[in-house]
């Protein structure tokens, strides 16, 4: 029993790390621009497919480096062409725009790469089980958790140590003031969006190694990511990270006891958190979007 619980808890942690990675990107975008990016899952899928195309040429490690960057570049373009029209308008419009964009992404990936699941090669040595005594664990799973940790630490370093990051954080608090102080808000929003999409692309490459590739790969992750943001509290990236890991572990543990409720449990959790703390675990008081 202990083994099963531990295994599922760890599995939940991996899934939670994905939720967190995706939710952090979403959260970055929401915090600065009030845009809920429904197409985030589509970007994730795109990152995975780009990696799939690159692997035969530059290998898994090369793809892991390059694919998220290419996805982010696409994100920069999409922001410039489409998303920017929604700034300052009712959030409804950005919701619908990215909703339409999600449809376009999903159908396009299906059209280009087919609806069926494609095999996604990760290095063999990563797939050999590390331990079968205590519980079954492949190197890939461990590696994913570590990489997510590195990415998250990197993100927090960027936000806290670099000029761009500090501007993003300041813009989250008061974009108008940042603009008055002479920061080019146009570019700031653009780069912020790209940074968010980079995280989506990275999550995509990692997820493909675990789940295989199909056009709907981002779909099952987008709703839990929203839940992670709500539970953690809008406006707090640490909260988002916490929320993502938390729902991952809880849903992993639920798999042990009530398998059929493993998906719904996170929404129940969200309801409970909202009942006790309407602003989320680490959300600031009075943060309204």
């Amino acid at each position: 029993m202990t083994e099963v619980v531990l295994f599922n808890a760890f599995n939940g942690l991996i899934v939670g790390a994905f939720y967190a990675l995706m939710a952090l990107g979403l959260s970055l975008i929401i915090n600065l621009t009030s845009v809920i990016n429904f197409a985030h899952g589509g970007f994730l899928a795109l990152g995975a497919y780009i990696a799939y195309m690159l692997i035969p040429h530059i290998g898994f490690w090369g793809a892991l480096l390059v694919a998220p960057v290419l996805t982010a570049l696409l994100g920069l373009v999409v922001e410039r062409v489409l998303i920017r029209h929604c700034y300052g308008r009712d959030p409804l419009y950005s919701l619908l725009l990215t909703f339409g964009l999600a449809y376009v992404f999903e159908d396009s990936t299906r059209y280009i790469w087919g609806a069926q699941s494609l095999p996604f090669q990760v290095p063999k040595w990563l797939m050999t089980p590390l331990s079968t005594d205590f519980f079954f664990l492949t190197g890939y799973r461990l590696f994913m958790v570590l990489l997510v940790a590195v990415a998250v630490i990197g993100l927090f370093l960027v936000l806290n140590r670099t000029r761009l990051g500090m501007r993003i954080r300041a813009g989250t608090l008061d974009l108008e003031m940042v603009s008055v102080l002479g920061v080019n808000v146009r570019i700031l929003r653009n780069l912020n969006f790209g940074l968010g999409i980079y995280l989506a692309g990275l999550a995509g490459v990692l997820a493909a190694g675990l789940l295989g590739l199909q056009p709907t790969i981002g779909d099952s992750l987008i709703m839990p990511s929203f839940v992670a943001i709500i539970i953690g509290g809008i406006g707090s990236l640490t909260g988002t990270l916490l929320g993502g890991l938390l729902i991952g572990v809880v849903s992993g543990l639920t798999t042990v006891f009530v398998p059929s409720a493993s998906e719904a449990i996170i929404y129940v959790m969200m309801a409970l958190v909202l009942l006790v703390r309407p602003r989320g675990l680490l959300g600031q008081e009075g943060m309204k979007l």
Partner: protein
């Protein structure tokens, strides 16, 4: 618009609706498609009660639509062979859920509200999806159908005659929209407009904002679940997609497309959406792509909707 013009527009609208099964074929449609326009139009109008007139965006209305659909389907399958009872149960289930969830989320606003409504919708989606022994899971709820209406002295065969079912739906639609219009004209409806225009000022006037938004949410979900029951009875089938958030998104786009500040706008939006989707999906497998592009074009170029555009030109 003056009174006469308004009356004339309404007369034309109802004339079009009354004769829809007869001219639908001429424009490449069929009676079932006409019924679908009405049903989804009602759903979009119910959403707009909240979005357009209260200023609150729910992105999870499919949940109540789907609860209505499942409520009706499960009643006919397991409980009793009665169409009116199926409708009643479906509406009751959807409304009850809305009362509970509404109370939980009424303090939230804007994006937060939208996100939470989607997330709650997912709970019902997964229940329908996972509880396959009762709901049929992903394959949907089958093995039942709507039954002829017994009205004392005679029977109306709404099962065999799809035109008869259309007129039943039209009757319910007329009553529902009538009630909605009355509510919006009442002091309660005016208060909702006040909240939409300036929540802070309304609060200073002593209006209990949370209670009003809660009631508006419940009323809106009441009509959404009514539409859901009619939708399930239309196709004698329902599946988890009736609960999925993508359908909620479709409702929102219908409302925005038609014009969310106008009463009839969402019906116009639903008509355009339903006919377009029917046409595109018969032409190409990649209908999602075109619907998606269509969404983006609406947002970028017709943010005030079709009716908003017409009005804007007149003004």
């Amino acid at each position: 618009m003056n009174r006469v013009g308004k009356g004339l527009t309404l007369a034309v609208l109802w004339l079009l609706l009354l004769t829809m099964p007869y001219w639908m074929a001429a424009v490449g449609g069929y009676t079932e498609l006409a019924t679908r326009v009405l049903v989804l139009g009602l759903a979009a109008m119910s959403l707009n009660f909240l979005l357009g007139f209260t200023g609150v965006l729910s992105f999870g209305h499919a949940a109540y639509f789907g609860l209505g659909a499942y409520g009706a389907g499960l009643t006919l399958k397991y409980l009793a062979p009665s169409t009116p009872l199926a409708i009643l149960v479906g509406v009751a289930v959807g409304t009850l859920a809305a009362m509970v969830i509404g109370a939980l989320i009424v303090k939230l606003r804007g994006i937060y509200f939208a996100m939470v409504t989607i997330a709650f919708g997912q709970v019902f989606y997964f229940i329908a999806f996972r509880w396959s022994s009762v709901t049929g899971g992903d394959d949907g709820l089958t093995g039942w159908h709507r039954l002829p209406l017994n009205i004392g002295f005679t029977q109306i065969d709404i099962l065999g005659h799809d035109k008869a079912y259309y007129y039943l739906v039209l009757l319910i639609f007329a009553v529902a929209t009538g009630v909605m219009a009355l509510l919006l004209r009442s002091p309660f409806g005016r208060t909702l407009l006040a909240i939409r225009e300036n929540e802070r000022r309304a609060r200073f006037l002593g209006i209990p904002i949370e209670r009003h938004i809660w009631i508006a949410f419940v009323v809106s979900c009441f009509f959404a679940s009514l539409a859901g029951t009619l939708y399930a009875l239309l196709s004698n089938f329902t599946d988890p997609r009736a609960l999925h958030w993508t359908l909620s998104g479709n409702f929102v786009i219908m409302a925005v497309l038609g014009g969310m500040r106008s009463f009839w706008g969402p019906l116009v939006g639903a008509a355009i959406f339903v006919v377009l989707q029917d046409y595109v999906s018969s032409q190409t497998q990649n209908w999602m792509f075109f619907i998606g592009v269509f969404f983006m074009l609406v947002v970028l170029f017709f943010p005030r909707g079709v009716l908003g555009l017409i009005r804007g030109k007149r003004a």
